[in-house]
């Protein structure tokens, strides 16, 4: 974040973008909404809503199995979206893109399949100290079921992973490493290239939780050489209920399927079932067809704006917000990593984050308070939670000014 904020000439026409998002025009309590809870979920541009409506009013039909015209159109649109997303993350093949319900579903899929296919008693799964519950609990469940062990890469007080300790934790018992690319509670951007390089040197595959990365920076799975990568559509300007698991073809071929059902099989008898090829092997049952298609539209929208432009704009937002928040007396940042993106967590003196959140809400400012589903992080910092403001491509400097003013007012009432 060495740039000087250049508010007057952003590569992104943020005002124009804002007009594409109907909900940003809304008021709460009669006050224009300031939406700074984007790490929880983003708002959707009208084109995404149009894609949903368009799907249901013109081609709605079940995919893959139909001889009729609508089914054909629905299948084309669904598979077209898979291609769009494969292009967006630079997957080798669309077949490496599996549609899931979201990040949580994707991690559970890998944990379960990897557990049944690879893990033996005594094996180790490595996660980090700053994981979201969704990247802890599935591994806990799997480890308990398989007699494996969960180990944790520690972090320092800035909220940065201790890479020395990470290296020291690597040994032949470690069978998979699951880490978040960006921490939703702290904003930390982890050194994922370094993690993957060290893991691969020992033939350990890596799963990246990209729930808080995919919307903020260019993602290239081939360049990363990552084995599995998961994210949610609803945090990427797409609908709820849809997400993506990217997996290297060789891994997805090797692992047993997760769920059983329609579409994921080639032939079924009661004696023997033969599984289908990728990506269908991992997509049991009728998928979220409209969600997948609309996620494709969201990705195209983001591509049109340019993910590099978004990244650049959001870096300016982060820098400006960090600077402005420093003006607030008694404010301390939770998470002060050198590389951060998307979210800023903080506390003010001994004001309870919940009190602050409530008074910000009443001023029309939506932020999040609490443990952000990352309780171990809170435990580590000995705090009940934080106040978190998180940004999106449509966030403005004015939003940040309002946030700071709102905080000042609330703090004065609560002190």
């Amino acid at each position: 974040m060495q740039h000087v904020p250049d508010i007057t000439v952003p590569a992104l026409d943020v005002e124009k973008i804002r007009r594409d998002f109907p909900l940003l025009q809304e008021k709460v309590y009669g006050i224009p909404l300031v939406y700074l809870d984007n790490a929880a979920t983003t708002q959707k541009p009208q084109v995404v809503l149009d894609a949903l409506e368009q799907y249901y009013t013109t081609i709605n039909s079940n995919v893959h199995r139909g001889v009729h015209h609508l089914s054909q159109l629905a299948t084309d649109a669904y598979e077209g979206s898979r291609k769009t997303i494969a292009g967006f993350i630079n997957a080798r093949k669309p077949e490496e893109v599996i549609f899931t319900k979201g990040t949580t579903d994707g991690i559970n899929l890998v944990a379960n399949s990897y557990g049944r296919g690879v893990i033996k008693p005594g094996d180790i799964v490595l996660v980090s100290a700053m994981e979201h519950h969704s990247n802890i609990v599935p591994w806990q469940i799997m480890c308990e079921d398989r007699g494996a062990e969960l180990q944790v890469i520690p972090m320092n007080e800035q909220g940065e992973l201790l890479m020395d300790q990470f290296s020291a934790l690597l040994n032949d018992r470690v069978k998979i490493i699951a880490v978040t690319w960006v921490s939703n509670a702290l904003g930390t951007v982890n050194p994922v290239h370094e993690i993957i390089a060290q893991a691969h040197a020992r033939n350990i595959p890596v799963l990246l939780d990209a729930a808080q990365a995919i919307q903020h920076m260019p993602v290239d799975v081939q360049e990363l050489d990552v084995d599995f990568l998961v994210f949610s559509g609803h945090k990427l300007y797409g609908p709820t209920g849809i997400g993506v698991l990217y997996g290297k073809e060789e891994w997805l071929d090797k692992l047993p399927p997760y769920q059983g059902g329609g579409d994921m099989i080639k032939t079924v008898t009661f004696a023997k079932t033969i599984y289908n090829v990728l990506p269908y092997k991992f997509e049991a049952g009728t998928p979220d067809i409209s969600g997948a298609i609309a996620l494709g539209t969201a990705v195209e929208y983001l591509q049109k704006a340019g993910i590099e432009n978004v990244q650049q704009w959001e870096e300016q937002l982060m820098e400006y917000a960090t600077q402005r928040l420093q003006e607030v007396q008694g404010l301390r940042f939770i998470g002060q990593a050198k590389k951060k993106t998307g979210a800023i967590s903080f506390l003010i003196d001994d004001i309870h984050p919940y009190d602050l959140g409530e008074l910000l809400d009443k001023q029309g400012i939506a932020i999040r308070t609490g443990h952000h589903c990352a309780e171990p992080v809170m435990t580590e910092f000995c705090i009940p939670g934080t106040v978190r403001a998180s940004f999106a491509m449509y966030t403005t400097m004015e939003d940040i000014d309002k946030l700071v003013a709102g905080i000042q007012k609330a703090a004065s009432m609560l002190r």
């Binding site: 309590y29 309870h352 919940y354 009190d355 409530e358 008074l359 009940p384 939670g385 009432m413 609560l414």
Partner: protein
């Protein structure tokens, strides 16, 4: 003042405040005035674990009346507890168990508080009524005991 009178007074107090920021100012002030729970009563037993903040509630019987003291790590929560304590404290178990608590709705708290907060408020209330029930039951059985 009866439970009803305190409620009506609160409703009237709140009706003079124009917007929710003012009402919060008032709630926060009430929280600051709350008769604080004695530190020694901040035990896990007395903890009502809410979703986002912690609440301790202690009950004592003095002269046939229940006295509540409480605390919370969140100031607004403390204010809300204070509302409840003001209304219910210093009444007999019978009065408390029979009380019709309409002020929360009337003030508009249920629709304006975040749901976790208003759920917390309701479980708080439940807890207080339960204490009252318990005391009533005990004294009832004691009475029955002497009569026998």
């Amino acid at each position: 003042m009866t439970i009803k009178e305190t409620q009506d007074e609160l409703i009237s107090d709140f009706s003079f405040m124009e917007n929710w920021m003012d009402k919060y100012e008032y709630i926060i002030q009430l929280g600051k005035d709350l008769p604080l729970i004695d530190e020694k009563y901040k035990t896990p037993d007395n903890l009502i674990k809410g979703c986002q903040s912690q609440v301790w509630l202690h009950t004592e019987m003095t002269g046939g009346k229940l006295v509540f003291t409480a605390d919370s790590d969140a100031v607004i929560t403390k204010g809300l507890i204070s509302l409840m304590v003001n209304v219910l404290s210093n009444h007999t178990p019978k009065e408390i168990t029979e009380a019709d608590l309409y002020f929360i709705e009337a003030i508009g708290l249920t629709s304006h508080l975040s749901p976790t907060r208003s759920n917390g408020l309701l479980s708080m209330l439940k807890q207080m009524k339960m204490y009252a029930f318990a005391y009533q039951a005990t004294s009832q059985s004691q009475k029955n005991g002497t009569e026998l």
